[in-house]
Symmetry: C2
Amino acid sequence: MTPVLARLTDRLAASARATASRLSPDVDAWIAERRRRPFESALITLDELTEPDGWGFAPGTGVLGHRSGRFFTVEGMHVTTNQGPVGEWWQPVLVQRDIAILGLIAKEFDGVLHFLLQAKMEPGNVGMVQLSPTVQATPSNYTRVHGGRPSRYVEYFTDPARGRVLVDVMQSEQGAWFHLKRNRNVVVEVRDDVAAHEDFLWLTLGQIGCLLQRPNVVNMDARTVLGCLSAMADAGASGAEVFGEPLGDPPEPGAVHPMTEVMSWLVRRKCEHEMSARLVPLTALPGWRRDTDRIRPEDGAGEFSIASVRVHARTREAPRWKQPLLAPHGPTLAGLVVRSVNGVPHALVRAEALPGYRDTIELGPTVRFPMHAYDRTPPEHRPPFLDHLLTAGDGVRYDTVQSEEGGRFLHAETRYLVVEAGDDFPRRVPPDFSWISLKQLNALQRHGHYLGIEVRSLLLCLAVACPNDRPTRSR
Amino acid sequence: MTPVLARLTDRLAASARATASRLSPDVDAWIAERRRRPFESALITLDELTEPDGWGFAPGTGVLGHRSGRFFTVEGMHVTTNQGPVGEWWQPVLVQRDIAILGLIAKEFDGVLHFLLQAKMEPGNVGMVQLSPTVQATPSNYTRVHGGRPSRYVEYFTDPARGRVLVDVMQSEQGAWFHLKRNRNVVVEVRDDVAAHEDFLWLTLGQIGCLLQRPNVVNMDARTVLGCLSAMADAGASGAEVFGEPLGDPPEPGAVHPMTEVMSWLVRRKCEHEMSARLVPLTALPGWRRDTDRIRPEDGAGEFSIASVRVHARTREAPRWKQPLLAPHGPTLAGLVVRSVNGVPHALVRAEALPGYRDTIELGPTVRFPMHAYDRTPPEHRPPFLDHLLTAGDGVRYDTVQSEEGGRFLHAETRYLVVEAGDDFPRRVPPDFSWISLKQLNALQRHGHYLGIEVRSLLLCLAVACPNDRPTRSR
């Protein structure tokens, strides 16, 4: 480890140890105050959504989009695959081609790195207000298509001269709900003074770690940016081993698989798992119908529907708007099994094919499962390791419900669960699973399209633990 | 550099120094013999292509596909972009969702690494027969959709137990001609005996380097696999610097930009360059018409058309077949400017947006330009640095015409040109260009979708130079 590498790693570690700061003495009161402000997000009918201005269904295809051509669209998707029990299906999907900036400003105060988080209202948020990165803006926002204010602080991420980039990487989002979506995850360290607007707060990594022990406070966008930063630190410290190792006969000391094997396994899974996803008209989408208030699956067993909301917010760039949201029918479990092998921490990840991924497969958690489908799924059809995760006792390392993006999803809650495997856990796993060391996962996270968003959240929660809290079961 | 890393790097270097081998004493005669065999590839009309069996135009969409549903299709593509003088266009495009194995078997003889290359006929090849990897097969080939023989040696790449993987990475192909195409580039080292069939030959890297000085001998698929292997060696030797460096204040010693800046530049280019490519019906594609024998652009200035061939080959898996091919209307220039900065070799690459790329942008050469468009393009509209490349005298480091994939393209020749910049070459370059060190480029090449196929070919040709030959201008 060179001194230069150690420096950022050490600075991040010091920030993670700092669980208090004079810049944010009472985080709870500050958040509570922002949550008391008058925000309104009310479900509306599709007719109200598509009144003459704003959103509308395109003639012929039925694509649901904004008349400006920006923001996002709801379209139909036809999926075929050569794996699994279901070879073909149709579903609505969110399509957003432009790339949002998920940007976090970092700055040192009293020798400790702080990060400028924003109390941001989103219509689909549980609790309405959650902590977002400094900037969470699509070009539609920061080029002001909706006629509101420009996003605050966006110039730190569009002008490279404003600071020093610590990490800047394109990452995917939910491949089951978005078609080819990806966002820019960027952290810029600034040395000049940066005035914190009243909805923004400087927090240390330690403070954020404690907030991550609570449900629905740190939003998805903040988690993914912080995850990329935290991965840089880990991979930076160990970059020599992780990236220098693939050519040798012996594996990375302690790692179950050398990196070349990991990469090769992933490539082989991509070759074997054929999946085609094509956008098709939303009109007459097989298995789906348009009601008064939702686009919903014809049978009751579907996982989500498309709803609409009317929003009134005082602190957003645009004071009033209407929009569709994808509404899951219940919470999802994202469970990760970890274990120490040869003294090296490993996670059991799954090569997960999802129709919205740009290259078919990214690494998912051990189990990702919509829990409302549990009772109606016969035990033999439940995913491997699900019951192991649900019945883990002493092995639980993290167990908290967090929200997915409230600007696109309505109350999409995920139970993030990390469980340490006992000695009885099988070493041999099915071919779409692999034990990969956390350092290897972090090295992969420095590039886009290797790790799905749930794994990135889980790795962050595991890395930035709150020293004051012990994990408890959330349910 | 650890001893383990040094080992493969040294072994590759030793193989590159070996310009002769007792296993392949007379390469020229061997290739000439294979080129003398009776192969036939004849242009046919679209009516002949679409006789009742085999290929056909789908009713309604006009998609040109094989009735088995495999191989590839020719479809329409509608492209919109916010950059450049042309904001919107339509074109035919090749669509192939399944992933080919481009697999090379490596084996040591007399202490020197050899690679098993195949004399492979492809209907679009200049010279009909060129050297391909050991295996160059789509699932359509190796699962025997066409009813022929299975691809020889494919089991070394589908069964991980057959050898040791040296590199295994998914790489893109031509983003202007393919929609989302990518292939598996894999090299497996085998210790057991491997019998070389009469159309296969063991060659050292040094022998291959000499063949790369000649036009149209080493095919595109062989070049891309060898490029990934050669990148592994370079990045492996320097992995610690290249991958460990991004977190520090000072850049990699000698590199113009630290890796974090390189990554950030690329992400920013992706954000700024919006490009949408949608598959649309081939029927009534604006600007294109279907003739008796080709699907061709309505004006004479188009860059390619779609032709068809009837093939008769004795050594391919299927003895007779018909297929469409994309036929460029002239050779392309792929020119790379290199220079040494602080004693470190750098290349001037361009963030090139192409509609068929999975994430919009990959790194292209300094200039990629269809040379038949030169005369009709006014000087002020020619790409930057084009004339610098064409007029370089003493600075030429490599200049040879090579073919692109002869199974999909008809006589698609590219003039690969590497030119060393003189002291008068500008340091400041337009925002879509960047000086990146060769080590950094090789580090990126270990992952998919960073480097386009032309840059990968150019880096290989530069790395595996023939010690016996001096570069000369090819035209």
